[in-house]
Assembly symmetry: C2
Homo-oligomer: 356 residues x 2
Amino acid sequence: MASTSSITIPSPADFHVHLREGAMSEVVTPHVRVGGIDVAYVMPNLTPPIITTAHALSYQAHLQSLSPKTTFLMTLYLHPSITPAEIQKAAAAGIRGVKSYPRGVTTNSDGGIENYEDYYEVFGAMEKSGLVLNLHGEVPSDAERGICVLNAEETFLQHLFKIHKAFPKLRIVLEHATTAAAVEAVKKCGPTVACSITPHHLSLIVDDWAGQPFNFCKPVAKYPSDRKALQDVVASGHPQFFLGSDSAPHPSLSKTTSSPCHGCAAGIYTSPILLPLLANLLESFGALDKLAGFASLNGRKFYGLETEGLKGVEVRRVAEKDGGDLVKRYGFGKEGGEVVTFWEGKKLGWEVVRNE
Amino acid sequence: MASTSSITIPSPADFHVHLREGAMSEVVTPHVRVGGIDVAYVMPNLTPPIITTAHALSYQAHLQSLSPKTTFLMTLYLHPSITPAEIQKAAAAGIRGVKSYPRGVTTNSDGGIENYEDYYEVFGAMEKSGLVLNLHGEVPSDAERGICVLNAEETFLQHLFKIHKAFPKLRIVLEHATTAAAVEAVKKCGPTVACSITPHHLSLIVDDWAGQPFNFCKPVAKYPSDRKALQDVVASGHPQFFLGSDSAPHPSLSKTTSSPCHGCAAGIYTSPILLPLLANLLESFGALDKLAGFASLNGRKFYGLETEGLKGVEVRRVAEKDGGDLVKRYGFGKEGGEVVTFWEGKKLGWEVVRNE
């Protein structure tokens, strides 16, 4: 059987991306488009976090200036200061969602939430105005209670069920799922609940981040059976599951210090290689025919974006026999900062072609 | 209740330590004594590994020249070239044990073993001549079979049981146990089987090495319940459990590259702080009264070393109100090499006092 040599995807969308600020942002924001993506759903965990419509819009304008052809969809950071009125205002301004971070589990999550019921009034306003709730689905580690990074996601799922039961029409995304348990939970909830999946969680297991800080992210990659569950649900083409890369650049030095704070340099950077990486991975588990659904249509439908008449982006098998260029790292700023890209030094075998 | 301010331990022994070669060895070998230890049971995973009595003895002589007051107990590396005759020769020369590394699971284990039954003749000779079998108790990861660094030790335990059943009088040490399952397995086997425990596995869980390469070792630290099982068995004073630090220095750069090979820079360096670290840890879980048993007598008895009339080493609470000096890293060689010590930048609150 001849192998597929090209796939054209209707306006690819990445429904979970970190674009940072300052010199880092100047480098990574244009990489979304380099990686083949037209639409970026932007995370709000800046310093300080984005908790007002005005802040989200000014950040959006800044990102737009850095990459004019990319569509940036904005989010707020769930926070005690956010009122139902602010939700209405945000919805009217075109903001698409609100991201919830449990306190202390990942980058810039010190202001994260501790009790979801405190936000039920806000969730009600979101349900009414059509904003999506984006959940970082981990509870904080607590050794006394037996909770660590390996079971933090599964332990979180009770909160997903509870919020979904209280707000059945609220659209909820369980972000960057890493476990078989999470996949089953999302399926069980039905069509108002969805799940983003990263390429790195389709690729890694726990062994791959053991001693390898550049493969460390939150939630951590888990058992082989968990990776298999993620691959299987993508291969099934299930409409509740779609791409959210969680591409999260960090200065390389923050990844290799002998005393990092827990979780604060968690993240894997995939933006500049995103579609070729996905083509490579989906082909490896026989799901190349699901690339358009996973990287565009499933997410677009869930978020209520256009799915017809979209311009395509082509991802094409590299013609060179040697598989093409090596994945490289990127510099930023004037002081020698570097961001290491996932799969650095490897070859993807696929490349983005934009016919324009 | 007044807290203990000083403990004197009869000639402390570390029954699992890596002393390396070259410039690194010159620095780390004297650190065994700095850390309060008199007897070092030395691992054979050099390059090439120690597979002859002659090599073990020349290495021992070299270590002795680097630290004349330390007693070095030597081991061979289980390898197809080792014969029953070599075992007899080794025993006659005072070599104490043979270390088995499953292939590919940790530093310099490329020559490790794949099938234990191939070594039954050697094990028979060891049982007869009194050499101890030191097992690195992990099977190699195999994603297809669901095996990863998290369940590699538990999956290995079947091999421990099988070898013990075939050679009930062979003294076996399951090295650096990390799981509740391993603790139970060793207890079940009875007095010819023992278990070494490292200070870092009494301290760390999986969260602590997530994104922290200087806390990465093989076997990896696991769930809170596993750490609790290790602490509990030490606190119980069980005679089958004793100190083997697995202190394993690596050049700091090898720990922070973006593309380390799996497991090859696995290791945590504790030699220079060993007894104070143990005092700190055992106090934290109420087992300070078990320090002499854990760090000297249990292991000495198992290995058939002297337990009476030994000179003591004192570990004393630091008098300074601020807890004393910070744990530091060490340089080696002429090219700026560095070894990062466990708990770098923290204070131990205890110090070694040698009354001589």
